[in-house]
Amino acid sequence: MLNYSVKRLGLAVIIVSVVMLLLFTMIYLIPGDPAAVALGPRATDAMREALRVKMGLDQPIWIQFWNFFINAWQGDLGNEVLSDRPVTDVVLEQLPFTLALIAGGMIWSIALGIPLGCWTAIQPGGIVDRIIGILSVGVIAVPSFVIAIYALLIFAVSLRWLPAIGAGDSGDIIDQIIHLILPSLAVGLGWVGYLARLVRASMLEVLEASHIRTARAFGLPERLITYRYALTIAILPTVTLLGVGIGQMLSSAVFAEIVFARPGVGKLVYDAILTRNYPLVSGAVLVTTVLFIAINLIADLVVGVLDPRVRSRL
């Protein structure tokens, strides 16, 4: 297990490095002189040249990449253009809001998706199964920003049950959680459908397995068979899928943050693109990538904890 973790960590480092190379190339290929963008139209050539030297842009490209690479691993992603603050600080400031949003989305999808999948698998073909099946496909098909807008209009504007915008007062956890309900629903609702379908399919498969027949032949209670003998196996593909799904949730989070005017990395990137604040865009993308890779690493380790067959192979 330890060996495996180290191996996976090494792989993660390589992936992050490749992403850095890609990001660097992308920034390099963007037309326009970063020094000119930073200084604005009224700067003189001498000022631009001075900044180019200061930013290291006069160096050969491979030295530029090496500097970017070394600095990035040390947590230094440069300074953003508008306020000249370190990109790392700006991104990390916003990160907790996005993390909370995604965690909320995961809680929705797990808390609703897994029980629904389980429930429909026990009585396949029944009326409940069909209704939930149709609803699942429905919420999968609807883009998260549509859900966000409708959730906002129905629950915040018309019914006034929940607040419409913002992340709540800092320091007031309850208020923050209340502000999180609708945006996290928008991020997680599609995943409720995915998980319901996935858990249903894998439950049906596991319930056909011969060890379930053995458990029944030993007269074990049906509850024990469903939840302990079948669900613990049926849940394994879900964990992997959720790890990958974090990527999609991160992109849904951009829309949810814009619609609900919440702070967060998504909103930050959106604003940075509008103001052509490239260091901030690349920094935020890099942080998001690291987050995505870290969560997938955790998902794989969780599968290892849940599945002894995987664990012993590690």
Binding site: T214, A215, F218, L220, R309
Partner: protein, 318 residues
């Protein structure tokens, strides 16, 4: 005294193409302390028979008529929770596939604890029971075996663990559904001997299902020959193997590779195939493939009994 008496059991399945009769008028007994073998080719209704006894028929299957008397109690009249009370305690089962028969994500010890869920013993007493059962099936290093998972054992060990689980509650009847089919020849012998030992120690009866005639001859006291959902012949092992009455049994014994006296490239087979049970005619079920078929075979054959051996065949009347 009989532990299990099956009387005129008829099981049907509703399929999209109409009703399928998987078992027709199946009758036989499993006497106390005896091992009864059921032999027949694939699709003869062995699995349906087991599932009927266990009350685990698929949703589209039902016992149409007949009785399954277990210790005098008709199992077909019990509800699902009453049946569950018997399963694993009075009637236990070992299945064919040792690789898949144990839950892959729950440790052996925990699975053995779960089987004892009805018992009022403390957890450590239950674990002692489990370890003791593993000793009886000769699993080495029992304490650590309890904490390990099924994939950490070999196929033969897994089957022995499955046997230990089945025998743990000291059932009155053990159903063994081709327990050695997935094992190689040496393991097969060892597993058969183990089953015999445990059967004698516990004093249970065994319903042993196999298509391996050699194993049946070695292990069983009585044999039931099934074909296409019917019992065509039954008797003691000696009677069936030395004096088969039904043409199907005769042909089946001729097909046993172990019985071939000389080397041959072509093993004997029974020409034809199992009839479609949805298109069942009233005559003898084996008539279409029978080497001594006559016109009278189109009518229902009588059940003829001679010295406890019985078969369904017109030939026996003459």
């Amino acid at each position: 005294m009989n532990i299990l008496e099956i009387q005129n059991l008829n099981v049907t399945f509703d399929t999209e193409d109409g009703q399928l009769r998987a078992l027709r008028d199946v009758s036989f007994n499993v006497p106390e302390h005896r091992i009864v073998g059921i032999v027949g080719e694939s699709g003869c209704g062995k699995s349906t028979l087991i599932n009927s006894i266990l009350g685990l028929l698929a949703d589209n299957g039902q016992v149409e008529k007949g009785k399954i008397l277990f210790e005098g109690q008709n199992l077909t009249e019990l509800n699902s929770s009453q049946l569950r009370e018997l399963r694993g305690v009075r009637i236990s089962t070992v299945f064919q596939d040792p690789m898949g028969a144990l839950n892959p994500v729950i440790s052996v010890g925990t699975q053995m604890l779960h089987i004892q869920y009805r018992s009022s013993l403390s957890k450590s007493e239950k674990l002692d029971n489990a370890a003791e059962m593993l000793r009886r099936v000769r699993i080495p290093d029992r304490e650590s075996a309890l904490t390990r998972y099924p994939h950490e054992f070999s196929g033969g060990m897994k089957q022995r663990i499955a046997i230990a689980m089945a025998m743990m509650m000291e059932p009155a009847l053990l159903i063994a559904d081709e327990p050695t089919t997935a094992l190689d020849a040496t393991l097969e012998v060892a597993t058969i001997e183990l089953l015999q030992d445990l059967q004698q120690q516990i004093g249970c009866s065994v319903l042993f299902i196999s298509h391996h005639l050699g194993v049946i001859a070695e292990l069983c006291d009585d044999v039931v020959v099934m074909y296409a959902g019917e019992v065509v012949e039954r008797g003691t092992t000696r009677q069936i193997f030395y004096r088969p009455m039904h043409p199907y049994t005769e042909r089946l014994l001729q097909c046993d590779p172990a019985g071939q006296s000389e080397r041959t490239r072509h093993l004997p087979t029974i020409p034809g195939e199992i009839p479609d049970l949805r298109l069942r005619t009233p005559g003898c079920i084996f008539a279409a493939r029978c080497h001594c078929r006559e016109d009278i075979c189109d009518s229902t054959p009588p059940e003829v009994e001679i010295e406890g051996q019985s078969a369904r065949c017109h030939r026996l009347v003459a």
